[in-house]
Symmetry: C2
Subunit: 183 residues, 2 copies
Protein backbone atom coordinates (compact mmCIF):
# COMPACT_ATOMS: atom_id res chain seq x y z
CA UNK A 1 0.00 0.00 0.00
CA UNK A 2 1.26 3.43 -0.88
CA UNK A 3 2.37 5.77 1.95
CA UNK A 4 -0.25 8.38 0.95
CA UNK A 5 -3.71 8.23 -0.62
CA UNK A 6 -3.39 7.84 -4.41
CA UNK A 7 -5.95 7.03 -7.12
CA UNK A 8 -6.00 3.20 -7.08
CA UNK A 9 -6.31 2.74 -10.83
CA UNK A 10 -2.88 4.18 -11.66
CA UNK A 11 0.37 2.19 -11.27
CA UNK A 12 3.76 3.60 -10.28
CA UNK A 13 4.49 7.26 -10.86
CA UNK A 14 1.15 7.78 -12.60
CA UNK A 15 -0.58 7.74 -9.19
CA UNK A 16 1.22 10.73 -7.65
CA UNK A 17 1.31 12.50 -11.03
CA UNK A 18 -2.49 12.22 -11.21
CA UNK A 19 -3.00 13.28 -7.59
CA UNK A 20 -0.53 16.22 -7.59
CA UNK A 21 -1.09 18.02 -10.86
CA UNK A 22 0.76 21.22 -9.93
CA UNK A 23 4.04 19.28 -10.01
CA UNK A 24 2.90 16.76 -12.68
CA UNK A 25 2.76 19.54 -15.24
CA UNK A 26 6.45 20.35 -14.79
CA UNK A 27 7.64 16.75 -14.32
CA UNK A 28 5.98 15.70 -17.59
CA UNK A 29 7.15 18.91 -19.29
CA UNK A 30 10.72 18.15 -18.25
CA UNK A 31 10.49 14.52 -19.39
CA UNK A 32 9.06 15.56 -22.76
CA UNK A 33 11.72 18.21 -23.33
CA UNK A 34 14.60 15.95 -22.35
CA UNK A 35 13.44 12.59 -23.70
CA UNK A 36 11.47 13.64 -26.81
CA UNK A 37 12.76 17.12 -27.68
CA UNK A 38 15.79 18.21 -29.73
CA UNK A 39 19.00 16.36 -28.80
CA UNK A 40 22.04 14.85 -30.49
CA UNK A 41 20.90 11.51 -29.01
CA UNK A 42 18.11 9.46 -30.56
CA UNK A 43 14.97 8.87 -28.51
CA UNK A 44 15.94 5.20 -28.29
CA UNK A 45 19.39 6.07 -26.89
CA UNK A 46 17.78 8.31 -24.29
CA UNK A 47 15.31 5.62 -23.24
CA UNK A 48 18.14 3.09 -22.98
CA UNK A 49 19.98 5.46 -20.62
CA UNK A 50 16.77 5.90 -18.57
CA UNK A 51 16.26 2.13 -18.38
CA UNK A 52 19.90 1.50 -17.43
CA UNK A 53 19.78 4.05 -14.59
CA UNK A 54 16.40 2.82 -13.30
CA UNK A 55 17.70 -0.73 -13.32
CA UNK A 56 20.79 0.33 -11.36
CA UNK A 57 18.46 1.93 -8.81
CA UNK A 58 16.36 -1.26 -8.81
CA UNK A 59 13.15 0.65 -9.52
CA UNK A 60 10.87 -2.07 -10.93
CA UNK A 61 8.19 0.26 -12.27
CA UNK A 62 10.56 2.66 -14.07
CA UNK A 63 12.86 -0.08 -15.39
CA UNK A 64 9.99 -2.02 -16.93
CA UNK A 65 8.20 1.07 -18.25
CA UNK A 66 11.26 2.53 -19.99
CA UNK A 67 12.47 -0.85 -21.21
CA UNK A 68 9.08 -1.09 -22.97
CA UNK A 69 9.42 2.43 -24.43
CA UNK A 70 12.92 1.58 -25.69
CA UNK A 71 11.73 -1.69 -27.27
CA UNK A 72 8.96 0.14 -29.10
CA UNK A 73 11.46 2.67 -30.44
CA UNK A 74 14.11 0.09 -31.37
CA UNK A 75 11.91 -2.25 -33.40
CA UNK A 76 13.99 -5.17 -34.66
CA UNK A 77 16.92 -4.11 -32.46
CA UNK A 78 14.81 -4.36 -29.30
CA UNK A 79 17.04 -7.14 -27.98
CA UNK A 80 19.52 -4.38 -27.09
CA UNK A 81 17.42 -3.51 -24.04
CA UNK A 82 17.90 -6.92 -22.45
CA UNK A 83 21.53 -7.01 -23.65
CA UNK A 84 22.37 -3.74 -21.89
CA UNK A 85 20.58 -4.76 -18.69
CA UNK A 86 22.48 -8.06 -18.72
CA UNK A 87 25.89 -6.42 -19.27
CA UNK A 88 26.41 -2.95 -20.72
CA UNK A 89 30.15 -3.60 -21.05
CA UNK A 90 29.67 -6.39 -23.61
CA UNK A 91 26.30 -5.53 -25.24
CA UNK A 92 26.44 -5.05 -29.04
CA UNK A 93 26.01 -1.29 -28.90
CA UNK A 94 28.20 1.41 -30.40
CA UNK A 95 31.06 2.77 -28.33
CA UNK A 96 29.48 6.21 -27.99
CA UNK A 97 26.45 4.78 -26.19
CA UNK A 98 28.66 2.49 -24.10
CA UNK A 99 30.73 5.50 -22.95
CA UNK A 100 27.57 7.48 -22.18
CA UNK A 101 26.19 4.57 -20.11
CA UNK A 102 29.39 4.66 -18.05
CA UNK A 103 28.79 8.36 -17.37
CA UNK A 104 25.10 7.72 -16.57
CA UNK A 105 26.01 4.90 -14.19
CA UNK A 106 28.40 7.18 -12.31
CA UNK A 107 25.91 10.05 -12.13
CA UNK A 108 23.42 7.56 -10.67
CA UNK A 109 25.78 6.83 -7.79
CA UNK A 110 27.29 10.31 -7.31
CA UNK A 111 27.87 13.02 -9.90
CA UNK A 112 31.38 13.63 -8.60
CA UNK A 113 32.48 10.20 -9.88
CA UNK A 114 32.36 11.38 -13.52
CA UNK A 115 35.92 12.04 -14.68
CA UNK A 116 37.40 14.13 -17.50
CA UNK A 117 38.56 10.77 -18.95
CA UNK A 118 35.00 9.42 -19.01
CA UNK A 119 33.90 12.50 -20.92
CA UNK A 120 36.91 12.41 -23.26
CA UNK A 121 36.14 8.80 -24.14
CA UNK A 122 32.53 9.67 -25.03
CA UNK A 123 33.78 12.57 -27.19
CA UNK A 124 36.27 10.27 -29.00
CA UNK A 125 33.32 8.17 -30.06
CA UNK A 126 31.26 11.10 -31.29
CA UNK A 127 29.43 12.49 -28.26
CA UNK A 128 29.09 16.28 -28.32
CA UNK A 129 28.33 18.69 -25.46
CA UNK A 130 24.63 18.19 -25.94
CA UNK A 131 24.92 14.40 -25.69
CA UNK A 132 26.97 14.69 -22.50
CA UNK A 133 24.59 17.25 -21.00
CA UNK A 134 21.54 15.18 -21.84
CA UNK A 135 23.10 11.97 -20.51
CA UNK A 136 23.91 13.61 -17.17
CA UNK A 137 20.47 15.20 -16.85
CA UNK A 138 18.61 12.02 -17.92
CA UNK A 139 20.53 10.02 -15.31
CA UNK A 140 19.85 12.69 -12.69
CA UNK A 141 16.16 12.96 -13.63
CA UNK A 142 15.65 9.21 -13.29
CA UNK A 143 17.32 9.30 -9.88
CA UNK A 144 14.45 11.67 -9.04
CA UNK A 145 11.69 9.61 -10.70
CA UNK A 146 12.92 6.32 -9.18
CA UNK A 147 12.87 7.88 -5.69
CA UNK A 148 9.44 9.47 -6.23
CA UNK A 149 8.02 6.07 -7.22
CA UNK A 150 9.68 4.01 -4.49
CA UNK A 151 9.75 6.64 -1.71
CA UNK A 152 5.93 6.75 -1.82
CA UNK A 153 5.66 2.94 -2.15
CA UNK A 154 3.44 3.30 -5.21
CA UNK A 155 1.60 0.34 -6.74
CA UNK A 156 3.88 -1.89 -8.82
CA UNK A 157 1.91 -4.25 -11.10
CA UNK A 158 3.69 -7.44 -12.14
CA UNK A 159 1.62 -7.94 -15.32
CA UNK A 160 3.97 -7.28 -18.31
CA UNK A 161 1.02 -6.04 -20.36
CA UNK A 162 0.76 -2.96 -18.12
CA UNK A 163 4.29 -1.96 -19.10
CA UNK A 164 3.73 -2.73 -22.78
CA UNK A 165 0.82 -0.31 -22.79
CA UNK A 166 2.82 2.39 -20.98
CA UNK A 167 5.72 1.83 -23.39
CA UNK A 168 3.52 2.09 -26.49
CA UNK A 169 1.83 5.24 -25.18
CA UNK A 170 5.05 7.08 -24.34
CA UNK A 171 6.79 5.98 -27.57
CA UNK A 172 3.93 7.29 -29.71
CA UNK A 173 2.42 10.16 -27.68
CA UNK A 174 5.19 11.35 -25.34
CA UNK A 175 5.02 12.00 -21.61
CA UNK A 176 1.89 13.12 -19.77
CA UNK A 177 -0.38 12.61 -22.77
CA UNK A 178 -3.03 10.96 -20.57
CA UNK A 179 -3.32 14.19 -18.56
CA UNK A 180 -3.28 16.50 -21.55
CA UNK A 181 -6.01 14.45 -23.25
CA UNK A 182 -8.26 14.47 -20.18
CA UNK A 183 -7.82 18.13 -19.28
Amino acid sequence: MAHIALPPEFPGIIGPLAAYRDTEKHLDGLANALMCGPSSLTKAERELIATYVSSGNECYFCTNSHAAVARHLLGEKQHLVADILADAATAHIDEKLRALLVIAGKVRKDGRLVTAEDVAKAREHGADDRAIHDTVLIAAMFCMFNRYVDGLATWTPRDPQVYEEIGARIATKGYGSRFRESS
Copy 2:
Protein backbone atom coordinates in the same frame (compact mmCIF):
# COMPACT_ATOMS: atom_id res chain seq x y z
CA MET B 1 36.64 23.04 -15.38
CA ALA B 2 33.16 21.90 -16.31
CA HIS B 3 32.81 18.82 -18.54
CA ILE B 4 30.94 20.84 -21.21
CA ALA B 5 31.06 24.46 -22.39
CA LEU B 6 29.03 26.65 -20.02
CA PRO B 7 28.72 30.44 -19.67
CA PRO B 8 31.65 31.27 -17.34
CA GLU B 9 29.84 33.93 -15.33
CA PHE B 10 27.32 31.56 -13.75
CA PRO B 11 28.16 29.29 -10.78
CA GLY B 12 26.76 25.81 -10.15
CA ILE B 13 23.44 24.83 -11.68
CA ILE B 14 22.92 28.33 -13.10
CA GLY B 15 25.47 27.52 -15.86
CA PRO B 16 23.63 24.55 -17.40
CA LEU B 17 20.26 26.20 -16.75
CA ALA B 18 21.41 29.24 -18.75
CA ALA B 19 22.91 27.15 -21.55
CA TYR B 20 20.01 24.67 -21.90
CA ARG B 21 16.86 26.72 -21.67
CA ASP B 22 14.50 24.06 -23.03
CA THR B 23 15.01 22.05 -19.83
CA GLU B 24 15.64 25.10 -17.60
CA LYS B 25 12.06 26.22 -18.09
CA HIS B 26 10.69 22.99 -16.62
CA LEU B 27 13.35 22.57 -13.93
CA ASP B 28 12.65 26.07 -12.61
CA GLY B 29 8.91 25.54 -13.02
CA LEU B 30 9.12 22.37 -10.95
CA ALA B 31 11.24 24.03 -8.26
CA ASN B 32 8.83 26.98 -8.04
CA ALA B 33 5.76 24.77 -7.81
CA LEU B 34 7.26 22.47 -5.19
CA MET B 35 9.32 24.91 -3.11
CA CYS B 36 7.21 28.09 -3.34
CA GLY B 37 3.70 26.90 -4.30
CA PRO B 38 0.83 25.66 -2.11
CA SER B 39 1.90 23.06 0.48
CA SER B 40 1.20 22.15 4.08
CA LEU B 41 4.90 22.80 4.71
CA THR B 42 6.31 26.30 5.11
CA LYS B 43 8.83 27.53 2.55
CA ALA B 44 11.47 27.46 5.30
CA GLU B 45 10.70 23.80 6.11
CA ARG B 46 11.00 22.92 2.43
CA GLU B 47 14.33 24.72 2.10
CA LEU B 48 15.63 22.95 5.23
CA ILE B 49 14.73 19.59 3.65
CA ALA B 50 16.50 20.65 0.43
CA THR B 51 19.59 21.73 2.36
CA TYR B 52 19.64 18.54 4.43
CA VAL B 53 19.44 16.31 1.32
CA SER B 54 22.06 18.33 -0.58
CA SER B 55 24.38 18.12 2.43
CA GLY B 56 23.89 14.35 2.58
CA ASN B 57 24.85 14.18 -1.09
CA GLU B 58 27.83 16.44 -0.35
CA CYS B 59 26.85 18.89 -3.09
CA TYR B 60 28.69 22.06 -2.05
CA PHE B 61 26.86 24.41 -4.41
CA CYS B 62 23.33 23.23 -3.56
CA THR B 63 23.98 22.91 0.18
CA ASN B 64 25.33 26.44 0.44
CA SER B 65 22.70 27.95 -1.86
CA HIS B 66 19.72 26.42 -0.06
CA ALA B 67 21.20 26.98 3.39
CA ALA B 68 21.26 30.67 2.42
CA VAL B 69 17.65 30.57 1.18
CA ALA B 70 16.58 28.89 4.43
CA ARG B 71 18.43 31.48 6.55
CA HIS B 72 16.72 34.32 4.70
CA LEU B 73 13.32 32.71 5.30
CA LEU B 74 13.99 31.84 8.96
CA GLY B 75 15.15 35.27 10.14
CA GLU B 76 16.03 35.11 13.84
CA LYS B 77 15.73 31.31 13.80
CA GLN B 78 18.38 30.99 11.09
CA HIS B 79 20.66 29.09 13.46
CA LEU B 80 18.42 26.06 12.77
CA VAL B 81 20.17 25.59 9.43
CA ALA B 82 23.55 24.95 11.04
CA ASP B 83 21.91 22.99 13.86
CA ILE B 84 20.26 20.56 11.42
CA LEU B 85 23.43 20.14 9.37
CA ALA B 86 25.38 19.43 12.58
CA ASP B 87 22.88 16.83 13.86
CA ALA B 88 19.24 16.62 12.77
CA ALA B 89 18.51 14.14 15.55
CA THR B 90 19.23 16.70 18.31
CA ALA B 91 18.55 20.06 16.60
CA HIS B 92 15.87 22.22 18.32
CA ILE B 93 13.23 21.63 15.66
CA ASP B 94 9.69 20.35 16.05
CA GLU B 95 9.10 16.60 15.86
CA LYS B 96 7.15 16.85 12.60
CA LEU B 97 10.14 18.33 10.77
CA ARG B 98 12.50 15.84 12.44
CA ALA B 99 10.34 12.92 11.22
CA LEU B 100 10.19 14.40 7.71
CA LEU B 101 13.98 14.79 7.64
CA VAL B 102 14.27 11.07 8.45
CA ILE B 103 12.06 10.32 5.44
CA ALA B 104 14.02 12.73 3.23
CA GLY B 105 17.32 11.17 4.32
CA LYS B 106 16.06 7.72 3.38
CA VAL B 107 14.69 8.88 0.00
CA ARG B 108 18.12 10.37 -0.66
CA LYS B 109 19.75 6.96 -0.28
CA ASP B 110 16.99 4.77 -1.77
CA GLY B 111 13.24 5.37 -1.79
CA ARG B 112 12.60 1.78 -0.74
CA LEU B 113 14.12 2.48 2.69
CA VAL B 114 11.09 4.58 3.75
CA THR B 115 8.91 2.46 6.05
CA ALA B 116 5.26 2.66 7.08
CA GLU B 117 6.58 3.39 10.59
CA ASP B 118 8.56 6.41 9.34
CA VAL B 119 5.41 7.77 7.74
CA ALA B 120 3.24 6.97 10.78
CA LYS B 121 5.65 8.87 13.00
CA ALA B 122 5.46 11.95 10.77
CA ARG B 123 1.65 11.74 10.82
CA GLU B 124 1.60 11.47 14.64
CA HIS B 125 3.38 14.81 14.74
CA GLY B 126 1.00 16.51 12.32
CA ALA B 127 2.26 15.70 8.81
CA ASP B 128 -0.54 15.17 6.29
CA ASP B 129 -0.44 13.46 2.89
CA ARG B 130 0.67 16.65 1.23
CA ALA B 131 3.59 17.08 3.63
CA ILE B 132 4.72 13.50 3.04
CA HIS B 133 4.34 13.82 -0.73
CA ASP B 134 6.24 17.10 -0.83
CA THR B 135 9.02 15.78 1.41
CA VAL B 136 9.56 12.74 -0.83
CA LEU B 137 9.50 14.80 -4.02
CA ILE B 138 11.76 17.54 -2.61
CA ALA B 139 14.31 14.91 -1.56
CA ALA B 140 14.04 13.21 -4.96
CA MET B 141 14.30 16.52 -6.84
CA PHE B 142 17.45 17.52 -5.00
CA CYS B 143 18.96 14.12 -5.79
CA MET B 144 18.48 15.26 -9.40
CA PHE B 145 19.79 18.80 -8.93
CA ASN B 146 22.83 17.64 -6.92
CA ARG B 147 23.76 15.18 -9.70
CA TYR B 148 23.18 17.76 -12.44
CA VAL B 149 25.54 20.18 -10.69
CA ASP B 150 28.25 17.67 -9.80
CA GLY B 151 27.92 15.33 -12.81
CA LEU B 152 28.83 18.25 -15.11
CA ALA B 153 31.58 19.47 -12.74
CA THR B 154 30.10 22.98 -12.71
CA TRP B 155 31.92 25.95 -11.19
CA THR B 156 31.74 26.01 -7.39
CA PRO B 157 32.69 29.41 -5.94
CA ARG B 158 34.01 29.39 -2.37
CA ASP B 159 33.04 33.03 -1.68
CA PRO B 160 30.12 32.97 0.83
CA GLN B 161 28.76 36.21 -0.65
CA VAL B 162 27.86 34.35 -3.86
CA TYR B 163 25.54 32.08 -1.89
CA GLU B 164 24.08 34.94 0.15
CA GLU B 165 23.05 36.63 -3.10
CA ILE B 166 21.54 33.42 -4.50
CA GLY B 167 19.73 32.85 -1.19
CA ALA B 168 18.29 36.37 -1.09
CA ARG B 169 17.16 36.16 -4.71
CA ILE B 170 15.39 32.81 -4.36
CA ALA B 171 13.83 33.74 -0.99
CA THR B 172 12.35 36.92 -2.43
CA LYS B 173 11.81 36.19 -6.14
CA GLY B 174 11.53 32.39 -6.42
CA TYR B 175 13.31 30.07 -8.82
CA GLY B 176 14.39 31.04 -12.32
CA SER B 177 13.65 34.74 -11.83
CA ARG B 178 16.93 35.72 -13.51
CA PHE B 179 15.78 34.01 -16.72
CA ARG B 180 12.25 35.32 -16.60
CA GLU B 181 13.52 38.90 -16.10
CA SER B 182 15.91 38.70 -19.06
CA SER B 183 13.57 36.99 -21.51
